[in-house]
């Protein structure tokens, strides 16, 4: 009888993906896959090509060569984003919208009917701990509050895949802990998470697998438990790989 993992399909696949800006290779022949239900972290120093990979996954920019897919659908097809929640690095909410209005817009763009949208948004506001502030204009929010609404917006439509680019940037230690707890609770719902983060200690606590890239090249991809040996931390591993 085949192992159960045989049936676990890849939620994300990158095949020999290269992205060039002139002579500079931002991403250089990168291939890897992320299985459904996996908590995956893409690590690398600034300018390593992490955000470029995310942007190619969402078809924000086209690869020079290679292919990417989400849920076995080519990322150039808008349908691949049907079950994706995305939190951008430097996330913004238009200052004239309240957090609630922004969440409602996200729900409308996913064609969720009005009553379901209202119920979903109410639950999301609760889960991100923003009750009582959801109807004030986002211009009055702190960066941490905006980040929470960003994560909330990514959760609208109950996505199967969450792509989070620096989800805890701008948050205080309590906020970071709350977001981590929220992400851990999502794990039980079978959601796949693709995380770009500099906070290696948080990645170590949340994620199962990680890949390290530097100067556009994939250096390693493995289980965090396999990467981090006894007495080491993920930070040590990261520095060792990046500094070569």
């Amino acid at each position: 009888m085949p192992d159960q993992s045989t049936y676990i399909f890849s939620m994300i696949e990158l095949n020999a993906v290269t992205k060039r800006y002139g002579s500079l290779a931002a991403v250089d022949n990168v291939s890897f896959s992320v299985k459904a239900g996996e908590y995956f972290a893409l690590l690398g120093p600034n300018g390593a090509g992490k955000t470029t990979i995310v942007k190619m996954l969402l078809d924000f920019t086209q690869p020079t060569s290679g292919s990417l897919s989400i849920n076995s659908i080519s990322s150039t097809n808008a349908a691949s984003r049907a079950a994706v929640g995305y939190l951008a690095e430097n996330f913004h909410i238009p200052p004239y919208l309240s957090g609630w209005q922004y969440l409602q817009r996200c729900a409308e763009l996913l064609n969720i009917n009005r009553s379901d949208a209202r119920e979903q948004c109410r639950r999301i506001v609760e889960s991100i701990g923003m009750q009582g502030r959801e109807h004030t204009k986002s211009g009055t929010y702190s960066s941490g509050m905006i980040q929470r609404f960003g994560l909330g917006a990514a959760l609208v439509g109950k996505p199967k895949l969450l792509i989070l680019d620096e989800p805890v940037s701008g948050l205080d230690p309590i906020g970071i802990r709350e977001i981590r707890q929220l992400l851990e609770s999502l794990k039980n719902q079978g959601m796949t998470i693709f995380l770009n983060s500099h906070l290696l200690s948080e990645v170590e606590k949340i994620c199962d697998n990680a890949a390290i890239i530097n100067r556009g090249k994939l250096l390693v991809k493995d289980k965090i438990s396999a990467l981090v040996k006894e007495g080491d931390s993920l930070e040590d591993v990261f520095v060792r790989y990046v500094k070569g």
């Binding site: 969402l58 924000f60 808008a78 984003r81 951008a88 913004h92 817009r105 996200c106 409308e108 763009l109």
Partner: protein, 271 residues
Amino acid sequence: MPKAFSSIINIAKYTIADEVRQRSFIVMFVISVIFVFLIRGCYQGNYMINGQDLDAEAIVGTVSKITFHIIAVVVMLIAALLSMRVFKRDRDEGMQSCIFSKPITRKQYITGKILGLWALSSIFMFILHAIIFLTVFIKLNVVMPGYLAASLLCSFNLLFVVIAILLLSLMMPDIAAFLCVMGIAIVSFVADGIFSMSHHPLVHMQSGWTGWEIIYYLWPKISGTQHFASSFIGSEGSQGFLYIYPFINVTIYCLILGVLLFWRFRNEDII
């Protein structure tokens, strides 16, 4: 409602809502309405020169036509101002990454933006024209049914301005895109003026098609479309193909620029 269609409608709706929320839009709208209300003094009902009554209806018709043209030009300027910062604002406020992280295609986004801006500027113009229409009706009990039809026809000029600005703002700074499109409009008005002067019976006219004449006919006929629309206000009749040519010209330009806009935005990086 098909999903693609509802996405376009949603984006158009957000475009209108986001523009209307801007303080600059409200200021422009209020100033325009005040300006149009100030014109109501022109519709007194009786006009006299040297103690002789003038044909009030003819004068009202002329005044209404002049205000029709002024409103059309001013709203064209406003449509250009509204359109020039749309992409930049969506990028800066994170709406582009929000929209494109959902299953929405670039074609749907562009179509929604065009529809939103076109609808908003057309409604803006229609309201101002409707104020004139109602003023004439209330003060003089004269109904000008062609006035509102002319306003709707004139909205094709607004569509041209919106698409041209959106396309050019992808290729150059917003202010340069604005100036380019306004330049095209000014050349269209000036060229129409020179052309009608050169075809006046008192002016010697060169026979045959010159290079300038070809450029004149191929140039976006914004002024011509406005004149074509305004002919619905009075009792001017049809004058053959050349009469509706400006309208066809602008429609073809809208189609060509629209295709170029879709093509250009297809490879645009979303930030």
